[in-house]
Symmetry: C2
Subunit: 199 residues, 2 copies
Amino acid sequence: MAALSSLDELIAALRCLPGVGPRSAQRMAYHLLQRDRTGAARLAQAMERALAVLRHCVRCNTFSEEDVCARCASPRRDASRLCVVESPSDLAMIEQTQSYDGFYYVLMGRLSPLDGIGPRELGLERLIARADDGQVREVILATNFTNEGEVTALTLASLLTARGLTVSRLSRGVPVGGELEHTDVGTIAQALAERRTLS
Amino acid sequence: MAALSSLDELIAALRCLPGVGPRSAQRMAYHLLQRDRTGAARLAQAMERALAVLRHCVRCNTFSEEDVCARCASPRRDASRLCVVESPSDLAMIEQTQSYDGFYYVLMGRLSPLDGIGPRELGLERLIARADDGQVREVILATNFTNEGEVTALTLASLLTARGLTVSRLSRGVPVGGELEHTDVGTIAQALAERRTLS
C-alpha cells in the first residue's frame, strides 16, 4: 500500500520511544492523527527544538542549553561536595529536599555490563576529572539502590577513594513513615545491619 | 530554571501521546536525548510529514494521502457490500483473512457517550450517505464486541435497516482452536444461545 507510506513511517518512527511496541505505536499514530493534531505538531516542534539546543553541561553533565548550566554557574553552592546521581530526575528529587547545597554530577545512566554499558560508555573518566578539581572533598554517591545502581556506586567508590577523596553513600533503611509490617524483608535486614547507636 | 525550558517543553509535549503520564514522558525525553537522537529526529520528521499529507479517504474515511484511497479506487471490489470497522487496524485484520472483497467504512472510533462521542461526533451521517449510494445492499457491522462496540453496532443497525439495507454482524462464539475449559463463561453462553443447526 504505497498510499499509506507516511502513516507506516510514523508508526515505525514511534517505536524509538522506550516501552512502545508495534501495537502501542499504531494506537499512538491513530490517536495523534485523529484526535490531537495540535498536540502532534507541538510535539514534533518541541522535539526538533530540544535536539537543536540541548547539550550536556560540561561540569555536571545534565541536559543544558548553555555550556555550563545555571546550577553549576551558581556562586552560592558549596564546591567541596559533589553528589553523583543517575539521572536529572534523581537530581530534581534531591533538590526538592532542600537539604543539599553542593554540586552534582549526572551519570545519565548506570553501569550495566549486560547492556554493554561499562565505565567507558558511561564516561566515568569525566566524573573522575570533575571530582579531581582540587575543590571537591567529599563525593556523595546517590545512585539508585538497585543491583546496577549499587554496582555503579561500588565501582565509583573504589575509583574515587584511590584519589584520596572522601566517598559517602545515601543511607539505607526503613522509609520515613514506614511500618515494619509493610516493609520488605531485605530492607529490614539492611536497617538492622546498619542500625545506629542512639547516644 | 529558564535554562531547562526546551527540555520541559519536550516532556510536556510528549504527554499528548495516549497512555503517557508525567513519569513516562520524562523517561522518554531522557531516552531520546541521551540514547536515540537519530530516532527522535526521524520521529519529528515523520510526524510533520504525516500531519502534512494524511487526510481521510472521502469514501471509506481511513487515513489516506489521496482523496480516494487505493482500496476504494479499486474496480475489483464488490460494491454491493460495505463492512464497518472501528479503526484501520481492524480493517487490516479483516483484509488478512482474505475472505472479504467488498468495501469498507472506518468509523475512526466508536460511540462512547461517557467520553462525549455521540453519533454526530463520530460522523455517522457520512456513513449513512456512503451506504445510501444505491449500490450497497448489505452492511456488515464489524465493530468490536466490547460494550461500546456493541452499542455502536445496535445504533447503526437501526439507522441502516430503516433505509431498507440488509445489516449483518460478525458472529460471536468460541474462537477457532478454542477449548471450552479455557473460554470465558459469557462467550460460552453466547455460543449456546446462538448455536447453529447442523444439517
